[in-house]
Subunit: 407 residues, 2 copies
């Protein structure tokens, strides 16, 4: 610890994932190795808490518990959904940069998704405008895997592993009766079907369930869907269908909206519920077959016991690389993954311009989806399989996982 | 293998659990050690498949894969929901006992819940009536833990561990934002609240979530519920409420019925859906607070990666004891667990009369629930904690669990 050094601050933002704390762990560990860095501040509830002076000295607060961070789901520091104004002359920017000064902070690392990269981009532009030497770095996290300019995002691998395992479990459960049944599994993904596509990994053999997989990338037609379910019922007793929460018809209308209302969150995203439930009723009505729907819900982003070791390791690496990028003088950048397949699967980090990342959305390539839009092809399987490899499980005590949390 | 011996048949019935295959494993392993037993037949889809001659030679079919059974969820042999007629003069009984003769079967072991014990009871009575020497033995399984005359039932411990872990995960997830929110977790349990009560084990410290737990054992009042949620919102930012699917009002009407229709299954049980979703809407409407509901659904009975080792071991023991009971000449009996706490937690097996078990339902004792019906007390925690201890996880390959299934 140097007397002449400076401090950094790290925050978490947006929806939690299984490994967003692994990235925090990576930031802390790398910062501890960097002699110039004195204190590692943590923003409580992201940039929103920071402007209210809610921050902590992470090392002081965590002590020996820091190792637990690696396998603790959700966001240890707390999160927020706070969008900075487009107008860089808004007083909030001045407030934030005064706080950086107040706490002698030279680097702000924001672990988050699309909207957080928007924050990184705006703050780095503002810094440039006022000639501030504070660097702003983004570390990606999203279960949705929709960030562009990176091979994939930390958080997706564990979500994919959870989905593949759970769909495999549900298939086992559904197969106990020999009477016909349909199970509709609704998975997360508003506009990008990455998580739902991962359900294809659940198959134990060719022709195994899930036999139908629907992503938002292809327009959904209710009548064709019913025809497809009917066809599959001739082949397998118990049909498992996986659908993204965000499937839409050819006019862009969400299927979940067929059944009810939908509100919007503070970012203007539509709040979706229940296309699975809706389709369950359609199947019952049109095919008179036993049908149930299962919504995996928040478990997709917080099931630490099913975290992918690859994902945890990469999340740590991305966090650590964030500190390195700052020390190299970079700013306004997001850490990105580059895949090298010459000798098996290997990931290295690079930095990409945050302004090119935010407000973009990477969807599943059309060529990885079958022509009729009901199946996921080999290209995706080859892409996703390495991401779910290995186990990185929380310590268990008294039969339950031990996590690290703010007291 | 003795030339002069006989065969046995084992079946699985009712809803699957995480450890019903562990009991099957126990039956097979014990039968293999019993020289008088030649073949171990497995009924495919329970007694219903058996009358259609759908059975398998388990050892032949499984080969080396038998070890995988221990950690395979759902029912390897397939299940059924088939209720034998009350009238023992119905021809079906004759059909079944002719099949026993045809396959040289001297013992039928049925792994199942309440309704399966009804089958065991009826078949043993019929055997007595016709002076048959075929013995009928029941091995308990139910995630619901509602079987009487046994300390607990195989299947409950793993369901409880899954629920406690998952509620802990959901609490972590809910706590990332500092704005007020309510999360309603709907758990399985039509009439008995055992599974929902297990959510109390999720608490990491006193006062931690879930702060409200509602079981079917206590009449549910919507207005009082809203008052309670309101009070809790003053204490914790994010309120997690756990409710049994089967909560009912003082007149015995299911809360889920408030919002819609309910069908009945072949045993005359009401098919329930959605009290969590219903209460979500009530909370939003009356308290104008962010609220979501999460239904853990079938995951409660098939998440092998969160199986309790205690549960798996006991399920194996119960299966093995079934074979021993038969060899001791018993019939019409269910294997039951007796708890011995003189030197820590220890379970031994005994047999109880199936006719005293079937069509009974063990509910959570009133003294284990707080007076106001919103919390679970120490008595339950002391009872349930030993049941979730230890990990018994499936082998993982390519990042996913390896299971044993009928080809």
């Amino acid at each position: 610890m140097s007397e002449t050094g400076f401090n950094i601050v790290v925050g978490q933002s947006g929806g939690p994932t299984t490994v967003i704390n692994s990235s925090l762990y990576g930031v802390v560990k790398e910062a501890q190795k960097t002699p110039e860095i004195k204190k590692i501040y943590g923003m409580i509830n992201g940039i929103q808490g920071f402007v209210e002076d809610r921050l902590m000295d992470i090392e002081e607060e965590l002590g020996d518990e820091i190792e637990l961070l690696k396998n603790t789901p959700a966001a240890y520091l707390g999160s927020c959904r706070y969008k900075l104004p487009e107008n860089l002359e808004d007083e909030i920017y001045d407030v934030i940069f005064n706080k950086f000064k107040k706490y002698d902070i030279k680097c702000f690392i924001y672990i988050g998704g699309n909207d957080s990269m928007d924050t990184v981009s705006k703050l780095s532009k503002y810094a440039e405008g006022i000639n501030s030497d504070v660097k702003i770095i983004g570390v990606p996290k999203t279960i949705d895997n929709d960030l562009v300019l990176t091979d994939h995002s930390p958080g997706f691998g564990s979500a994919a592993k959870y989905v593949a395992t759970t769909v495999r479990d549900i298939v086992m459960d559904a197969n106990v009766y020999d009477t016909h049944s349909v199970t509709i599994v609704e998975l997360m993904g508003r506009h990008a079907g990455w998580i739902t596509a991962a359900s294809v990994l659940a198959r134990k053999y060719e022709g195994d369930n899930p036999v139908l997989i629907y992503l938002p990338e292809v327009a959904f037609d209710e009548n064709t869907f019913i025809e497809n379910v009917k066809k599959q019922l001739d082949k397998v007793s118990n049909v498992i269908v996986c659908v993204s929460e965000g499937i839409k018809d050819k006019d862009g209308r969400f299927i979940c909206e067929y059944s009810g209302d939908a509100g919007t969150d503070t970012f203007g995203h539509k709040m979706l519920t229940g296309c699975g439930k809706y389709l369950e009723n359609v199947v019952k009505d049109k095919l008179s077959v036993k049908c149930r729907s299962v919504e995996l819900n928040v478990n997709q982003r917080c099931k630490a016991v099913l975290a992918s070791k690859t994902d945890v390791d990469e999340a740590i690496m991305a966090g650590a690389y964030g500190v390195k990028a700052f020390m190299n003088g970079e700013t306004g950048k997001m850490i990105a993954f580059v895949r090298n397949e010459s000798e098996g699967y290997r990931i290295t980090c690079e930095t990409v311009d945050c302004s090119l990342v935010c407000n973009q959305e990477k969807v599943v390539p059309r060529e990885w989806i079958s022509d009729d839009g009901t199946d996921i092809l080999e290209g995706f399987i080859k892409y996703a399989k390495p991401l779910i490899q290995g186990e990185s499980r929380p310590e268990m005590k008294d039969g339950l996982p031990v996590y690290c949390y703010r007291k």
